[in-house]
Amino acid sequence: MSDLTQAQVRERIARRLASRHRKEKLFRGLGIASIAFGVMAVLLLFSDIISKGSGAFVQTDVQLQVTYDPALLGIDEVNAETLIWANFTAVIREALRARFPEVSGRSEKRELYSLVSSGAPFTLRERLQANPQLLGKTEKVWFAADDDVDTFVKSLDDSAEGFRGRTSEQMAAWVQSLRASGELKKRFNTTFFTNGDSREPEQAGIRAALVGSLLTLMVTLALSFPIGVAAAIYLEEYAPKNRWTDLIEVNINNLAAVPSIVFGLLGLAIFINFFELPRSAPLVGGLVLTLMTLPTIIISSRAALKSVPPSIREAAMGMGASRMQVVLHHVLPLAMPGMLTGAIIGMAQALGETAPLLMIGMVAFIVDVPSGITDPATVLPVQIFLWADSPERAFVERTSAAIMVLLSFLIVMNTSAVLLRKKLERRW
């Protein structure tokens, strides 16, 4: 350097400066482009799902004037027993025939009857049960429309023609006539949140799957968090660093990368075949997901324990605290935010897991809301899988709607993980 004058050095630096700035810009641009790509992908996913799924939150109703005719119902009085046997279907069919008196012929009539949901008789029964004095009277009742009708009505908003699909021309004419006379309305689809699965899209809901997911996650959390934290504490605070602990560490990291379906097979072989636990149960699902989330929780808990400064341990140890006191009084409270964050992320993973649950029978068609961890149940992602597989067009929007519900749960969980970390994290 000594043989260069200061002016020469400055000149050399200046010459390189432009290219350095250019590279700097390029480097930053690459980062921005990557972020933009990620954001684009998320936006695309969300807009696609929302545009497809928002329709599921709306349900078309058909208004019919029904007469609770004792003769048609085949009952004389309203009580628990007669309500079971009463022929509400006949009443609804009568009401439909009265609305469209021009319909004749067997097949045409059958088509007319399929205007309303096959769940309509239950609507009627509930009304009569609530108001027994309605027997013999006439009233106007809103019934859920059949899923094909519902799909057709919704498509009419987009174009005058609408998407008919399986709907016949005749049916389309009836719908148009009902629509013109104000006997069709759209309402918020509460059924979607209060019912279990059903073969009929208009009666299908996510409640059973949601409760099943909740029960499964509870089992998973109750098992994986204490076990994971205990394992992490032992490995970080107690275990000597030797070949055995290295081996354990490699195995834990390995487990985190094992395809989840393998855990499903393991659960099938051990929990169901060997221990003979019930199939399709949140208990077994939770056990399998525990195996799957344990590595995540152990790894994140160990990282959280590692981040506690050793000076705190030394201070406590220098005061004469025992190993356990050091851990319980000082290390654990400081590591807890990180551990909880890891646990929430592990739970979010478990919530979205499908494959291992297929192996243990949680893919079964389950209508009832499970009331305990040994009841047959399904979970949200499996419900999505089932609906995505269904041929009815109305299940397309329900699939997307269920994905929206699942995504919102995941967003809530991941946001709370971030907030928790922000709130509890401590700086030294």
Binding site: P240, M319, G320
Partner: protein, 292 residues
Amino acid sequence: MNTMTLDAPGYSEPASPQTLEKETVDTRTKVRETVGTPFCDNAKLKMRNVNVFYNETQAIHNVSLDIGRNEVVAMIGPSGCGKSTFLRCLNRMNDTIEGCRVEGDLTLDDEPIYGPKVDVVPLRARVGMVFQKPNPFPKTIYENVAYGPKIHGIGSRRAELDEIVENSLRRAGLWNEVKDRLDKPGTGLSGGQQQRLCIARAIAVSPEVILMDEPCSALDPIATARIEELIDELRKNYTIAIVTHSMQQAARVSQRTAYFHLGHLVEVNDTETVFTNPEHELTEAYITGRFG
């Protein structure tokens, strides 16, 4: 020689002091034997032939030293000379370091410090420690001081604890500054206050010995002066061993000074002698600033 090992199953009997000296002592360092007065009559802590190993590396070579009652002994020496390692042997803080092995006779009031039957919990209650970097617990000031008494079951009632906390903070010269904010986090204090809080925390369990590992290295001169005053004050009740890099500090606070060099204890003498008329040429070289 009564020797103990911590966690070395494959440990073999150490070489006798003579052979050890011949083999491991670099003749360049001219360390034959500690010069001066390593022993005293009213010894609180007695260390004889202490060797410390980190795995295969020997950090302390055959050190023997007494620390008397109500005496402040300063340990000085260049970085990496083993003075902190030696200090940490006295309350077995080295136990927590993997691969660290301590050999030799160490006694507190003639009771062994190392041994299969010795419980470190009461030992550390008797031998407190103040660290280089102030390390208050991320809890309130009150809880910081009350922690030791609580875990050792010294003050069980709230009133008792209150008294212990107040006395400890008073002795550490911190009471007037923090009495109105005992429920505020200890980590919110200034560096000097934090270090005094750590001292208050250490004396809250009424230890007999306080070990200080460069307690002022992270503090400004004013905070340092306060801690030094405090050390002089504490001498009335406690035995103190202090590691320091500041020779002025050693001169100000200690009665005897021990000079360590590359794991050897070169010289121990009255502080005044060490700084005015050192016996060993290495000591002289260090205090006159020829190396270190």
